[in-house]
């Protein structure tokens, strides 16, 4: 059990943020304590030191799953997320944080590994523009806290395993099912709902995770999977089928550690993604669906200016 002293120590380390590691005498974080569970999560996701830029990179592949045919490899992918977090101690809600980030993911030709610009759908035969993932922002909508509004601790231990030298995180999934920005006003009646599942898992050093003087888990390894309907730019309409992303990656220390293809593409086309959004960013989130809507709306406006 945590003593009052260690709680104070933890709170102090939070207050002095950047200098916390200098002390080196803190009690370790307690994986059974709700506040510390969230601190561990923040160490993975960003940093206990507010405003520390955090860079994640991942790479993998995108497959098509269509009933009645073997899965097809469509693309290799490289993605990166540039993030920072606010942290605070709330008298009722306990330890809280909010993340803000920008994210890109590029579709690469699976044979040449060149960034794909056009893609011929093997199902429709139509060649379309590849619209890469470039979501700005990808933010937490609100503060995320260790306690609910009544001050009751939220237990996240189911998603955290400490074993030997490892901390394993994950095992659940984000089940996304909401009104598609690209479909009409009667989706409950005729379908078209946005429907996707995303799940990530992480692995990091257990010793570093529990070290109260260590504000981030700099060597966190990640796996990320996503299953959704066709991407809108694939122009697959109502055709049966799903896309499955499977990737692996890790937290990087610097921009230079990114693969060359990612650096070049971000430098030339998405330079604003080299820094996270401001900590107080309140813009609505972008998704591939909202980004594509802007893309197609602009194109339509150009093609038929009278409309």
């Amino acid at each position: 059990m945590r003593t009052l002293t260690t709680i104070t120590a933890a709170a102090l380390s939070l207050l002095v943020a950047g200098t916390a590691s200098a002390a080196g005498t803190e009690q370790p974080l307690d994986p059974a304590n709700a506040d510390d569970q969230l601190r561990i999560q923040v160490k993975m996701s960003c940093s206990l030191v507010e405003g520390t830029p955090t860079l994640y990179w991942w790479s993998g592949r995108v497959w098509a799953r269509v009933p009645g045919e073997p899965n097809r490899l469509l693309f290799n992918v490289h993605g990166m997320n540039m993030r920072q977090c606010r942290v605070k101690q709330d008298p009722v809600r306990g330890f809280c944080y909010r993340s803000v980030s920008r994210e890109v993911m590029f579709y690469l030709d699976p044979v040449t590994n060149e960034v794909a610009r056009r893609w011929k759908s093997p199902w429709s035969g139509e060649e379309v523009d590849v619209v890469h993932v470039a979501n700005d922002p990808v933010n937490a909508r609100d503060w995320y806290c260790s306690r609910d509004k009544d001050g009751k601790p939220v237990d996240r231990s189911d998603n955290l395993s400490f074993k030997d030298d490892l901390l394993l995180e994950g095992g659940g999934a984000a089940r996304l099912f909401y009104k598609s920005p690209l479909a009409g006003e009667y989706q409950d009646y005729v379908g078209g709902t946005y429907h996707a599942m995303e799940f990530g898992t992480s692995a990091a050093s257990a010793v570093e995770a529990l070290d109260a003087g260590d504000s981030e888990l700099q060597d966190t390894l990640i796996s990320w999977v996503r299953i959704s309907r066709w991407l809108p730019w694939m122009k697959m309409g109502d055709r049966d089928g799903l896309v499955v992303f499977h990737t692996a990656g890790m937290r990087l220390d610097s921009w230079e550690q990114l693969p060359e293809v990612v650096r070049r593409e971000v430098d030339t086309r998405y330079p604003s993604y080299k820094a996270p959004p401001p900590l107080d960013d309140l813009r609505p989130n972008e998704t591939s669906w909202t980004v594509f809507k802007k893309f197609i709306d602009e194109r339509r406006a150009k093609e038929s200016p009278s409309n």
């Binding site: 790479s59 045919e69 490899l73 699976p110 994950g170 999934a173 898992t201 390894l221 692996a248």
Partner: protein, 323 residues
């Protein structure tokens, strides 16, 4: 790497073995290209370290990611996570939590033409747990059909590489280690798209459908130095992330209903069966005693999958009823 030599009739529910069948090489070569794009070889590799560019060393790297360089050394992988449904038109449902384990060993081979080789043999259990209480489920009420069915947990014995993998393939192609080396870590990442005759369906599947259709996804992470050091015979720390997308599991009795299931798990190598989570550890000891050790190194039985296993269960019940 995790894909064993699979054929239409011998794909397991999942394996962590080491070779890609030639029919799926194209996609894995593409995956390898990504790996090559990354620093495929660490810049500061010492002379006495394994060299991923050498076929004999690539074989050893694959073997270390799969099991141990020591013949007969037992290696246990454990994982936990959840299983969800995806049905068009409804929000995905969390159906079960899962806990699984694979117990394996590897043996060495030598071929005059193909050089050194190895083969892994293993047994595998995965339990379906109540998503609220984490208790082992015995019965499950199907929310779509309303029918209550018996839960048949994954118990695949064996899950073996069909044949050894060597430093050089039968076609002379050198073994490749498809790994990424980043910031002192090393990992492999791959998918096995499975598409073959469904053992539970009929003899005209290419005409009327019902093929077995699944994809396994596995990432395995470890420390780069330990992996490249030939003196480290068994990796001290490996974490994994395993996912799977497939049609309904046969025991759910969903017939031809539209929908798929998705597994999402995280796990690691553990030192002994005592390190397994509950209830897996107790359930294993109580109900799966054969799974406390790997199969013998010379095991030549055909692989078991959840589909072949369930066929046996259903067939024996039908026989008992005199159907």
């Amino acid at each position: 790497m995790f894909i064993s030599r699979r054929s239409a009739s011998q794909s397991s529910a999942f394996v962590f073995a080491a070779e890609v069948p030639s029919s799926r090489k194209t996609s894995f070569l593409a995956a390898a290209a990504v790996a090559a794009l990354m620093a495929a070889v660490p810049a500061t590799r010492a002379a006495d370290m394994l060299d991923p560019a050498k076929p004999e060393d690539a074989l050893l790297l694959n073997r270390k990611m799969t099991c141990s360089l020591e013949d007969g050394q037992t290696v246990i992988h454990w994982w936990r996570g959840s299983m969800l449904s995806r049905v068009p038109g409804e929000r995905d449902r969390v159906l079960f939590n899962v806990q699984g384990m694979n117990i394996r060993q590897c043996g060495s081979f030598v071929d005059p033409k193909r050089g050194p080789g190895f083969r892994s043999v293993s047994r595998e259990v995965m339990l379906y747990l109540d998503p609220q209480t984490n208790e082992v489920l015995r019965r499950w009420k199907n929310p779509w059909t309303g029918e209550e069915v018996e839960v048949i947990h994954v118990a695949n014995d064996p899950v073996n590489m069909r044949a050894p993998t060597f430093a050089f393939g039968a076609d002379g192609k050198p073994a490749v280690f498809r790994g990424s080396f980043v910031k002192g870590k090393a990992w492999t990442s791959g998918e096995a798209p499975l598409w073959y005759d469904n053992p539970l369906a009929g003899d005209y599947q290419s005409y009327v459908g019902n093929n077995y259709h699944a994809m396994e996804m596995l990432n395995s992470f470890t420390d780069a130095k330990a992996l490249l050091n030939p003196a480290v015979r068994t990796l001290p720390s490996v974490s994994i992330s395993w996912a799977r997308v497939s049609d309904w599991i046969p025991w759910m009795k969903m017939g031809g209903r539209t929908g798929i299931i998705v597994f999402n798990t995280v796990g690691m190598r553990v030192a002994s069966l005592e390190d397994l989570s509950e209830p897996l550890r107790s359930e294993l000891k109580a109900n799966y005693p054969a799974y406390l050790v790997p199969p013998p190194l010379d095991d030549s039985r055909p692989n078991e999958t959840s589909w072949t296993y369930i066929k046996k269960v259903v067939d024996s019940r039908r026989a008992a009823k005199g159907d």
